[in-house]
């Protein structure tokens, strides 16, 4: 018999499903699942495959599965299967897969054979059961009758009914063909096999009556099939009737009832059929297949006349029998067939099989439809026809819904891939002598089929790596205080339009030194660069080509080709791989992949070469730079444009230059658009002429010539019918000679960069000085621009009306003693500072930018109290202004200044300074000072000042930490300097806690805050602070500290 390719493919798919089911159940059994269920499902897997293989003429496969089935039968009634046998079965499944692909297998079944019940059938000859003409059915039937109906799950029963229906349909087709004279051997064989399968399945599920009927059909066919007799109309009639009854029985069974009338009729039918069988027209010369079938037809014709009468008689017998049954069925229970029909409907609509090719072509059409939709929408934007506009909107909605639905048809749960790892891990743990547990979460997460295929190999590699390199051997784990059983957990979930897959192990983790040494040894990186890498960058080295950390190459992994291939493969489908690890605790690999490839959201941009699309996945942010500004614009480093983005240097690439449209660009004036893109763990800015729109684009492939240009990953047709190229971001960065290694040393820009690096934020301002000036950003209340004509005078003080209040303006230029040059400007940029419940406006020449810098403040060479210090960045010197000092120089009376709270008398500032100056002496003791301050900048600054005085300073980032430090302190502190506004525990609470502490109740405390005002000072006093200081004047801080310490000393 010959089968079409489609048939074979379908069979293969089904066979693989069956094997998978068996494998899953085996593994479940291995990990202690309930025996009976698992056993049944394994058995069904083997058995069904055996049957299917028989139908498809794959004798080897059939024999193989039969052997497996027999061995398995030995465990019937047991409660477990030993590991040895589970291994045997697993290998058997692998072998079956090889056979399925047309390979040859020498399989050794010679495990100590379990007790086999069906001795007559264990011989190798059994492999041709279905083809053999002398099948000894009853015996086999007994073996297969192993399932108690009640133990079978409803799904399995559903499968059984569906299968039976399929078989019945095939049988009736065969019968019809034979009846219409196509009595070829193929049909007869097919008929015989189907009937046989039906019988097997029926007995397997304990449907004795069904099985008996099928058995009757099968035996009646025996002679015809063996070639000794030809078919007769009465035989066919009888077979049809039997089939009809089987169908009825099946309906009844499905409905959960039985049909006794038919059951009782079975013996009679059996007799009738045997009679018909015995009267079959015999052939004189039984010979080989083809001839027989031809003869069959001729013979039948010639014999027709002679036998007509007799046959008619016989067929009447059956015919008379059957209608009677039918009548009784309907009389007995008219509701039954109806109910059965309903069930059938449910089954047939629940799912259908559709060829992938059809889905693919629908998908392609869907893409076209999206394009047309885009075109219509674009057109409707220009239209004023309300009806058309509303129709196009409707079209938009419907198309989007179809698109979403279409996408769903291609979606498959990721569990299809992840499930396979159960086996992988099991095999690996045996090979490696480790104990590994696999935990899967989010297996129902859906992903495009093509993507699922694409991530299969990389995932397998990562899982193998985790087992091989990650999880330690049991004794090592034990020694490390971990559970002997390692865990690899795979978690899949949706996040931000992407699917994230986490592969986590609780193994030994990555050791940065080991990786670094290996990388240097392998020449992946040189020693100089190696010192500059962050931990993350070091870990990412394992993705570099030619890198392998395995001490020795095992057959599992460690060939040194894996991880870079993993990354390449995942990046090819638009995904990213990220790795983090804690030495000794394990490794986490995060894979992010898009939901689908066919339609991607993208940003369209323009440059002189045309329109281009940047996939949203690659896009981090868009930056608009005004080159006419004096600061914060594109700068050149060795002729290459760069841009400072939040303190980090962002390499810039001009799209026009990369695409060879222009060779020199100077960004003189005007606006420059930068798209910040991510490529292989690093970022770069792409300078583009024009940003257009975000659209869903349908990716069209390019030919290899254009792909080899590196710059494009595809093309698409936009709404206006024009063609746009999809930029390959990685390719562009390569084209721009941003060498792999080079980019890697540029830290990836993260919004957290300035938190982790303990940087301080500044507001950069321009004043009448060549140097840029800055204010600590935290002090800035608002930025305003006032019109000169709005400025009024209150006395000699320049003020503006600001909301309900009057905002006094202070010129920074004047305050710092610079001669103001810009007199004629119409707008006055102003920095509004809040202090002591009052707002003050600082007039500046221009507000430039914010800056995040880790640079240290330098306090030396400062002769102006309004200048706090100098910020020494890598590129320039920035003067940091103290706005409070500036304000105070203009409004000395209005501010409470610092007051000595413990004396209760408010002191004039100058007097205080004078006193302090007189008092000032080098501290004869080095005090131990606890500093609580949440702002990094001030923590550093105050600490510096105090340390310069010769004190020992312990810094805490908030009140809670300060309390902890106090409690843990080995040596007592002499003084606490604390901020008021702090997270968790604020300064007041800290003071309260200290004062209530038996040990520290008399410890001197100084409050340092930017808040001021009498009420605030009172609160400070109430809380227990001895003195209140404004932030931050180093010399006064010095004096106040000395003052406090000496008083404390004299008190003692």
């Amino acid at each position: 018999m010959s089968f079409s390719k489609e048939d074979l493919d379908e069979f293969k798919a089904e066979a693989l499903d069956l094997l998978e089911i068996a494998e899953k159940s085996l593994l479940a059994l291995d990990s202690g699942a309930e025996f009976k269920t698992a056993f049944d499902s394994i058995f069904r897997g083997f058995h069904n495959l055996k049957g299917a293989a028989g139908i498809m003429d794959m004798e080897q496969l059939q024999a193989h599965t039969h052997e497996l089935e027999n061995i398995l039968m030995g465990f019937k009634g047991d409660t477990s299967i030993s590991k040895k046998y589970i291994n045997l079965f697993l290998q058997g499944i692998d072998a079956a897969k090889v056979l399925l692909d047309g390979g040859e297998v020498q399989f050794d079944y010679s495990m100590p054979q379990p007790v086999i019940l069906n001795t007559p059938n264990t011989s190798k000859d059994n492999n041709v059961i279905l083809d053999s003409t002398t099948v000894d059915d009853p015996l086999e039937v007994k073996d297969e009758k192993i399932l108690e109906q009640k133990d079978v799950s409803p799904e399995t029963m559903g499968d059984f009914f569906v299968e039976c229906e399929e078989i019945i349909e095939r049988v009736s087709k065969h019968l019809q063909s034979i009846e219409s004279g196509e009595s070829t051997k193929d049909h007869l064989d097919g008929l015989y096999r189907d009937v046989h399968s039906l019988k097997g399945a029926a007995y397997l599920f304990s449907y004795k009556n069904l099985g008996d009927l099928a058995h009757i059909m099968e035996s009646s066919l025996e002679r015809v099939r063996s070639g000794t007799h030809s078919t007769s109309p009465s035989l066919l009639n009888g077979l049809f009737k039997c089939l009809e009854m089987i169908e009825k029985l099946l309906l009844a069974e499905k409905n959960g009832t039985t049909n006794e009338t038919i059951e009782n009729a079975i013996p009679r039918i059996s007799k009738a059929m045997t009679k018909i069988e015995n009267q079959l027209p015999s052939l004189d010369q039984p010979s080989s297949s083809e001839e027989v079938s031809v003869l069959d037809v001729e013979q039948e014709n010639t014999q027709k006349l002679e036998q007509e009468q007799e046959q008619e008689q016989k067929s009447k017998q059956v015919n008379q029998l059957v209608p009677k049954f039918e009548e009784t069925i309907q009389k007995n229970d008219p509701a039954k067939p109806h109910a059965a029909n309903e069930i059938k409907n449910d089954d047939s609509t629940s799912s259908i099989r559709v060829p992938v090719a059809l889905l693919d072509s629908l998908m392609a059409l869907m893409g076209e439809m999206v394009l047309v939709r885009n075109q219509v929408l674009q057109f409707s934007n220009k239209s004023e026809d309300a009806e058309f506009i509303s129709m196009s909107k409707r079209l938009n909605v419907v198309t989007s819904e179809i698109q979403a639905g279409m996408m769903k048809t291609r979606m498959q749960p990721i569990g299809n891939v992840l499930g396979k790892f159960t086996r992988v891990i099991r095999d690996l743990s045996q090979d490696l002598g480790k104990k590994i547990n696999l935990s899967l979460t989010g297996t129902e997460t859906e992903l495009d089929k093509s993507l699922l295929e694409a991530i299969k190999d990389p995932l397998t590699h990562l899982v193998r790596n985790s087992c091989d390199h990650g999880i330690e051997s049991p004794n090592v784990r034990k020694a490390a205080g971990k559970s002997e059983i390692g865990t690899v957990s795979i978690k899949a979930y949706h996040e931000g339009g992407q699917v994230v897959i986490d592969i986590q192990d609780d193994g030994k983790g990555l050791h940065r030194e080991v990786i670094l040494n290996k990388a240097i040894e392998k020449g992946v990186i040189n020693k100089v660069d190696a010192t500059k890498l962050s931990e993350k960058q070091i870990f990412n080295l394992i993705f570099a080509p030619g890198f392998s950390t395995a001490a020795k190459i095992t057959n599992v992994s460690g060939r040194g080709v894996g991880m870079d291939v993993v990354r390449t493969n995942i990046e090819r489908i638009g995904g990213t791989v990220d790795l983090s690890s804690v030495a000794g605790q394990g490794t986490l690999i995060k894979i992010k992949i898009p939901l689908t490839l066919a339609i991607v959201p993208a940003l369209t941009v323009k440059c002189r070469g045309g329109t281009f699309a940047i996939p949203q996945v690659n896009l981090e942010e868009l930056v608009r730079v005004d080159q006419s500004m004096t600061q914060n614009k594109i700068e050149f480093m060795h002729g290459t444009p760069v841009f400072r983005l939040r303190g980090s240097i962002l390499p810039l690439v001009d799209l026009n230059v990369v695409l060879d449209i222009e060779h020199e660009v100077n960004y003189k004036d005007g606006i420059v658009n930068i798209a910040v893109l991510n490529a292989e763990q690093s970022s770069f800015g792409l300078i583009i002429d024009q940003i257009q729109d975000t659209v869903d684009i349908v990716v069209k492939p390019l030919n290899r010539l254009l792909k080899s240009l590196l710059a494009y990953s595809g093309a698409t047709i936009l709404g206006d019918g024009s063609v746009a190229f999809i930029l390959d971001v990685i390719g562009i960065s390569k084209l721009a000679h941003l060498k792999h290694e080079k980019i890697k040393t540029v830290a990836k820009l993260t919004p957290h960069a300035y938190h982790t690096n303990e940087a301080q934020d500044y507001l950069l301002i321009k004043v009448a000085s060549p140097t840029r000036h800055a204010l600590v950003l935290g002090y800035v209340h608002r930025l305003e621009e006032f019109k000169v004509k709005d400025i009024e005078y209150s006395g000699s003080q320049r003020v503006v009306r600001y909301g309900n209040t009057i905002l006094p303006l202070i010129s920074v230029n004047k305050g710092l003693g610079y001669s103001s040059t810009q007199q004629n400007q119409e707008i006055v940029p102003t920095v509004v500072i809040r202090r002591a419940d009052h707002l003050y406006g600082l007039e500046v020449d221009a507000i430039l930018d914010t800056l995040s810098s880790e640079a240290d403040l330098n306090y030396s060479h400062i002769n102006n109290p309004a200048i706090f210090g100098n910020l020494n960045t890598t590129d320039e010197l920035i003067v940091v202004i103290d706005p409070f000092e500036l304000i105070e120089s203009v409004f000395p009376q209005r501010l409470g200044s610092q007051e000595s709270l413990h004396s209760g008398n408010s002191m004039d500032r100058n007097e205080f300074v004078m006193n302090a100056a007189i008092d000032q002496k080098k501290p004869d003791i080095s005090a131990r000072i606890l500093l609580a301050e949440d702002t990094i900048f001030f923590r550093k600054a105050i600490k510096d000042v105090l340390q310069n005085m010769g004190h020992e300073v312990v810094a805490a980032s908030d009140g809670q930490e300060a309390i902890d430090l106090l409690n843990q302190a080995e040596k007592p502190f002499d003084l606490i300097v604390s901020d008021i506004e702090m997270p968790r525990v604020n300064g007041f609470q800290l003071a309260n806690a200290v004062r209530n502490h038996p040990k520290y109740s008399s410890m001197p405390m100084m409050a340092v805050s930017s808040k001021a005002g009498l009420s605030f000072m009172k609160e400070c006093k109430k809380a227990g602070f001895n003195i209140y200081m404004e932030k931050l004047r180093p010399n006064m801080l010095e004096n106040a500290v000395n003052d406090l310490l000496s008083k404390e000393k004299s008190a003692v």
Binding site: D660, K700, L702, R704, L705, L706, S708, L709, S722
Partner: protein
Amino acid sequence: MSNTYEQLTTFYVDGNMFGIEVLNVQEVAGSPLVFSVPLAPSFVRGLVNLRGQIATAIGLRELFDKSSKDIESRMSVICKIDGNLVSLIVDSIGEVVEVEESRFETVPDTIPQQVRRFIKGVYKMNGAFLSVLDLEALASELSPSTEADSGRNN
């Protein structure tokens, strides 16, 4: 069997007649809007939106290293080569001719290499030569085997 005939779609480039087997030609069109591909070799004129499908426009003048003087109306012959749609940009379109296979000859060695490598052979016609375009050679030009030899030869 005496003579077999072949039908060729003919067109002209720089005064020379060329032909493609009729079965390989999908359609003949005017000069569509071409979206140029930066960085691509000069014979890749760009991409064309062919009713929702994207075709690569190949300028045969540029491919054959002929002066690409401005011809007002160029025509295009659209073929499917190696699964990719290609729009060959030619000077003008000729007739569909039927040629006898026996009149087929190989390309003389003296023809410039840049033209010869894309020509399968020549038919002698009345008063003219008809060069048969080698679509496979064109296909391999569009699918460089390695990235290395895909240099920009413009």
